[in-house]
Amino acid sequence: MADDRNSAVHLSAEVFAMSLGDDSEREDFELGSDGVEEDVEDDSDDEELMVTLGFVQAVEEPWKMARQHFPCKIGGTPAWLDPINIPEGDNTQCGICDNPLGFLMQVYAPIGIDDVGYREEVFHRSLFLFVCPNMACLQQDQHHQLKKSPERPCRSVKVFRSQLPRTNRFYDYDPPSRDSSPATEAVPVCTWCGAWKATSVCGGCKQARYCSRVHQLAHWRGGHDSFCRVVQAELASNKQESELKFVQNPENSTTDAVRTMVQGVITRVTDTLLKSGIANAISDKIWPEVELIVGEEEDSMPSDAINTSRNPQQLLQDYEIRRENNGEEFTATDMEDVEESSREQQNWAAFQARLAGAPDQVLRYCRAQGAKPLWPSLEGQPKQSDITPCFNCGGPRIFEFQLLPQLLYFLQVQNETDNDSLDWATIAVYSCAASCNKSDSTCEGYVEEFAWVQLAVS
C-alpha cells in the first residue's frame, strides 16, 4: 500500500474510537470466502450451535451415582443403563493388548424433540466410554482408527450406546425418588473392576467373580489369596451357619458375616450392592469417581484471566499516550519484518481462546446437524470418509461430544514418564445419527460407536 503511513494515521483515530467503546461484533458483509487468506481463527463466529459443557465435581451424594438415577460420571464403575445385556467378549477388551478396558466416563444424553434422530420411543439414552490405560496401546490405536475395512478395527478406545423407552422392564415409569432401588437386579459384575459381566467365579471361596483371567490374577495378588483361604477355612468349620447365610443372600452376607469371622485380615471388603444399583470395585487401578456437571458455554468475556499482564485497554491507552507524545515509533515497513505465527500455532491459540471462558471444562457436547468438534491441532483431524458408518444400521454418524485434556489433570493421571502416562489432545465421539436400536424388537443392548483420538503433538 502506497500511503500506508498516512492511511494508518488517518484511520486510526476514528477506528480506535469506534472499537474501544463498543464491544459488539461488527457485521461483516463479506461475500467472498475466507479461504483465500490465512485465517485459521475465525473471529466472526458462524457457530450458531450451542455447545453444552461438562465440568468435574466431587461426588456429593453417592446415591446419585446409582444407575436408576441416570448419572453422568467419570471414573469409578459404570452405571449400566441396561443392566442385563452388558457388552461381552471381544468388546470388553483392548484390541491391541487384549486386556480388559478401563471405564473412563459415561453421559446420559437423551435426544430432544428438535434433535437429529428423535424418536418417541427412545426416552433414556446413555453413552459409555472405555479406554485401555496403557499409553502404548493408545499410540498404536492411532493407526487403527484410520482403517476402513468392513470388519471392525481393533481399537483401544471404545464407546457403547444404550437407549430405552420410557416404559421398560428395568426402571419405573416415573422419575425415581432418593431411596429407590432399581426395578430389576443387575447381572453380577467382576469384583475387581466392577465394570464387565462376571463370567467366572473363584474356585476357592466361590464368592469373588471375575470378567477375565487378568482380573482374577490381579485380585489374587491384590490380597484375595489370603482372604480366600480364610473364607475357605471358615466355611469348612462353620459349615451349617455360614452355608445357610451364603445360600440365601450371597451378596449381603459378605460384609457382615465375613467381618465378624475375619477380624484381622487386611483387605478391603466391599460388598457388591447390586441391589441398590451401584457396583463397587476393589481395583486401585481404576480412575477416581467424580460427577460430571452440565453447564452452558458462555460467550466468553475471558480476558482478564491473564493475571500478570495489564488489561488490554490499559496497554492500548499507554500506546496512545506514547504516540501522542513521541509520534509514531515504528513504521509499517519496520513491522513487516515481524512474521506471524504458523497456522498450527494460530489454530492452537484459537483453541485456547475458545476454552478461556471456562478453563476447567472437560467435555463439550453438541449433537446437531453440522456440529464440528473443536480441534486442538490441525493435523490428525478426520476427514468425512474416516468416520465409519454405524455398525448396526449402516447409517451415517454425526459428532456428539468430545473429551478435553483437562480431564487428565482432574483424574490426576501420573505424568512421570512420557511413555506410560495417558495423554491425548482430544477424543471425539461420533454416534449413529438415527440412534438406532440394537435389534428390531427391543431397545435393549449396546451398540458400539466410533471414537476419534487426536494425540498431543510434541
Binding site: 494508518a8 481463527e41 437423551p110 433414556h124 452440565v294 519484518d337 491459540a349 476447567d360 495423554d423 510434541s458
Partner: protein, 280 residues
Amino acid sequence: MAERGGERGGFGRGFGRGDRGDRGGRGDRGRGDRRGGRRGAKRDEEEKWVPVTKLGRLVKEGKIKSLEQIYLFSLPIKEHQIVEFFLGSALKDEVMKIMPVQKQTRAGQRTRFKAFVVVGDNNGHVGLGVKCSKEVATAIRGAIILAKLSVIPVRRGYWGNKIGKPHTVPCKVTGKCGSVTVRLVPAPRGSGIVAARVPKKVLQFAGIEDVFTSSRGSTKTLGNFVKATFECLLKTYGFLTPDLWRETRFSKSPFQEFTDFLAKPHKISVVEDVEKTPVY
C-alpha cells in the same frame, strides 16, 4: 413425586436437550460470579489454570523447577501460563504498534487490526507476539499470549572488566534468517543499544544495555530481520566461553527424570507385604 422430565427425553439432568433445568442447584458452584468481572486476587487466577498439555501438568505439579530446564531440552511451550508461572510479575509487556490491515472484498474494504506486543522481564527473557483480529482488544490479548509463548532466554556478559552486572552480549554472535544476517557485538558501558528500531526494542526488553549491531542482506524487503535478531540472542547460550569450560553434567529431561523408580516391571503390583507397596 414431581414429574421432572417431560414427555420428550430423559429425566432430570443430562446432556443434549434433555433438561438443563437442574443446573440451578448444582451447577452454580461459583460459576454465577463469572460474569461479575475478575476482581479476584492473582492467586485466584493461577488456581484457575487447568493445564491442557503434559508439560503444563508437570509444571503445575511443581515437578519442573525453572524455565531454564524447559529451554535446556527445547520442549515446546504451548501454554502461556507456564511462562507466567515462572516469570510472574517481573514480565512487562508493551504494545509496539497497532496496524490496520485492509482486505478488499466485494462489499468494500474489510479492516482488521494487527497488534505487535513485546514482553520481557529486563533480565534475560524476551518475547514478541503478533496477532491480527477484527477488534483491537482481541488482537492485543492474543498478541500478549503469543509473545509469552515465544519467550527466549538471553545471556549477557561483559565488554571488559567484570564489575557490576552484565550489561552486554558475552561475545560477538551472528544470526541468520533468510538472507538477513544480524551481528551483535559487545559494547562498553554507556554505549546504549545501537540498532534499528524494532530490534532495539527487543534488546531493551531483554535486559541488554549496550550493544553494537551490524546487519547485512536486504533487511528492508525480505524481512525476518527480527527473527535474525532472535536467532542471535538464542546463540548467546550456545557459545562456549572459558567460564563454561568445566564439564557439563547432563541432567535428565523432565519427562525422563522420574523414570527411575518405575524401573521395576509394572504390570500387576505384587503386594506381598503392605509395607513394600511403593508409595509415591
